[in-house]
Symmetry: C2
Subunit: 254 residues, 2 copies
DNA sequence: ATCTGTGAATCCGTTCACAGCA
DNA sequence: TGCTGTGAACGGATTCACAGAT
């Protein structure tokens, strides 16, 4: 069939599985690297290796987007970059505000991955009056008082919260009230938001705790070859699967 | 080496599902807050609300740890804090090194959540000689040349990589060679590591891209009330479930 | 001959609903 | 009565394995 159009099987899926959505950025990154090296096509096997997943998963993922490959050959790199970018909504440019310009907020503001992928830091906001006007990453910090105006003036729909835990929910409420519908939360708090607002959470201490769990298990296994009598070293998981995706992070108050 | 086998032995009760492990830190945080307010017991319903999950999931999660609740009453807060801490391996204290002391590395070093939860920043390492000796968060930065010695001297098994993407794999290799077996990677790269080494990844631009996807979908739905004829607005998920919708992380061998 | 696309099988996690105990 | 603990049902995600396209 003619590739190149949003072939939309009305009967079924307009829904790409969440797990697949979470991997698209991974594929996109790998493809972008190939594109920069002017590689014209890539097989599912090669691309999967570059993205850190297995090829069956990758092909299944791509099958949700449509039939963008060529049997016997592989995928056209440029074409796939475009299709995935479009699917992720990166062909437009999303203004983002960062609230809470402490160490982490500053790091985020300076993070180059923003601009390069469809995101633009529209404003930096902090509650400390002493910060107001000070440029961070070339962008002057604005005071929290102007939050609502900043959001509406810039048409911001994505907000990043990098405040201390205690400030996160109030900030979140104001962002949502002003029209933000997607939030990336670095504060170690469970945010409550109305229906229709997405929250993703990044929590450093949680990630470390998960690592500690596995670390402890490894240490225990070294000596504990007993217990039960039939517990092989269980080398954890098999394939090169790197992705935590989603959670956790942190910023902690005193 | 493709088909990595790794039989997963029918792990008995010692095998807590990954998804559950990923939530334990969440419960622990909520419980710690309750503990600080001297709340003696809590029901699955209350604790679930505080952690941002539903109560059935929480009870199921706890059932993997053992029967720590009292029917008709709830869970003893202090006891649960202890049990979960133990399960996560937080009753011991884990020395951690942070490699790459740029904006992000500094933010991580300053992050209070470390010390408070069983982790101790044993050293900060950077490749820039100009940084050497300069204290960040009260800890003097050391040069990459001494990486191996620092790891072994401090018995470090958990490393945090906050370097630019290009430096991540070489740093990772050196960490692993020196004895590190768990890595938290903030660099936007797929790391390859030998079997037995855990890698978790935190990637800001990926999180934003996932948000952009949903954001785009929301925008599209506003006007597109057609298509199919039987596709209700599907307000994403129902309950304010903050979890990363189910993905779990990572372990990856080479 | 090679590599994609995908049904079918399987695995894992979530939710349901109720039995069991305080 | 109230709330935990858990088998069973369910649903989503991963893997398998092969049909189909080039």
């Amino acid at each position: 069939m003619a590739t190149g159009r949003t072939h939309r099987p009305a009967t079924r899926s307009r829904g790409i599985p969440e797990a697949t959505v979470a991997r698209l950025p991974l594929y996109l990154r790998a493809l972008t690297a190939l594109s920069e090296r002017s590689v014209p096509t890539v097989s599912s096997e090669e691309l999967a290796a570059a993205a850190g997943v297995n090829s069956a998963k990758l092909r299944k993922d791509f099958s949700y987007l449509g039939s963008y490959g060529t049997r016997g050959v592989g995928y056209d790199v440029e074409y796939l970059v475009y299709q995935i970018s479009r699917e992720l909504g990166l062909t437009q440019d999303w203004p983002v505000v960062i609230v809470g310009i402490g160490n982490l907020g500053a790091a985020l503001a300076n993070y180059g991955g923003f601009a390069s992928r469809g995101f633009r830091v529209a404003a930096l906001i902090d509650a400390d009056p002493a910060m107001a006007g000070k440029p961070v990453a070339g962008i002057p910090v604005q005071h929290t008082d102007d939050l609502e105006k900043i959001i509406t003036d810039n048409g911001v729909s994505i907000g990043v919260i990098a405040t201390p835990a205690g400030a996160a929910q109030p900030v979140c409420d104001r962002l949502v009230a002003a029209g933000v519908t997607s939030i990336l939360n670095f504060a170690p708090t469970v945010l409550s938001v109305p229906d229709g607002v997405d929250v993703r959470k990044v929590d450093l201490s949680i990630e470390l705790q998960i690592l500690a769990f596995h670390e402890q298990r490894k240490a225990g296994e070294e000596s504990a070859a007993h217990e039960g009598a039939a517990v092989p070293p269980v080398a954890h998981d098999e394939t090169t699967d790197q992705g935590p995706d989603g959670d956790v992070p942190a910023v902690m108050p005193a």
